[in-house]
Symmetry: C2
Subunit: 151 residues, 2 copies
DNA sequence: TATTGTTATACTCTATAACTATA
DNA sequence: TATAGTTATAGAGTATAACAATA
């Protein structure tokens, strides 16, 4: 990106922000998986990808405060979806791991929300969908990159 | 979009969903400034575009229940950002209008979150940004289109 | 003394149910 | 009888502050 952002780049950023906010709100509503909150599913997904993590790592990764993560983990543990184990070296820390039922629930939850989003996407043309597809990997990078990182 | 969705279309949908959710969460955090909630800013923005609207119209447009919209409007009225006036024909209805200070606050709020998002986007290449730009109008349509509408 | 995690507490946002007033 | 809006109340989710255990 250029250092100086053009006028209609700004407009695109603004529209992107508004659309992302709105889509996310509707996706959150779509999460008919009654027993699991959005944050719980995010954490479960992260644990599935990473294998295991400590509460502090999870809190940083999910942009929530440690006490909030404690609560999320407690909920997941109550539902039998994660295990909390002592860290082998550092006894202050806790290692959180997803259990096998978690994988099934995660897959089902993703399937439902993907289906909802796919339903929306059916309304666009082939070319429009091609444009979105091309942008998806970039959006993924933007969504997961650190905001403080300056060149 | 084709009726039958291919395997990697599904993967793209899934990644899109996850990225949108994550970006939105981080954008929400970015808006700590004005003591205006995400929903309040959304409503204000909609009023600015539409000129005026009734609480029920706003509730439907923002996917919240009427009592929630009552509260959002009350907050905005307390802050002097909207006016509530009786509907000229139907005395059951209320017409909500944004005041002049709202425009300034709205512009400032957008500027801050746009700047944050633009900061993230500075990290991508020209080609990547071009891909996102091409997708923005489509995402906007997807975000605002009715999910029930079947062809 | 710093760090990891937790508990206690309060706040924000939203929803459901019940009510008022118009139509 | 139906609709627009509100009030009352409850629930989910998160944050800050204070604390315990360990490094």
């Amino acid at each position: 990106m250029p250092e100086l952002i053009a006028e209609d780049d700004l407009a695109a950023v603004s529209t992107l922000r508004a659309s992302v906010m709105r889509l996310a709100r509707r996706l959150r509503h779509q999460q008919v998986e009654h027993s699991l909150s959005s944050a719980e599913i995010q954490v479960l997904g992260r644990l599935e990808r990473a294998g295991h993590a400590t509460p502090t790592e999870l809190a940083r990764a999910e942009d929530v405060q440690p006490p909030s993560m404690t609560r999320i983990i407690a909920m997941l543990e109550d539902k039998g979806l994660v295990r909390r184990e002592p860290h082998p070296q550092d006894r202050r820390q806790v290692v959180v791991t997803a259990t096998e039922p978690a994988a099934q629930i995660l897959a089902e939850s993703r399937r439902m929300r993907d289906a909802w989003l796919a339903g929306l996407i059916e309304e666009v043309t082939e070319e429009e969908w091609a444009a979105v597809r091309a942008a998806v990997p970039v959006l993924e990078r933007i969504a997961s990159c650190a905001p403080r990182a300056r060149r």
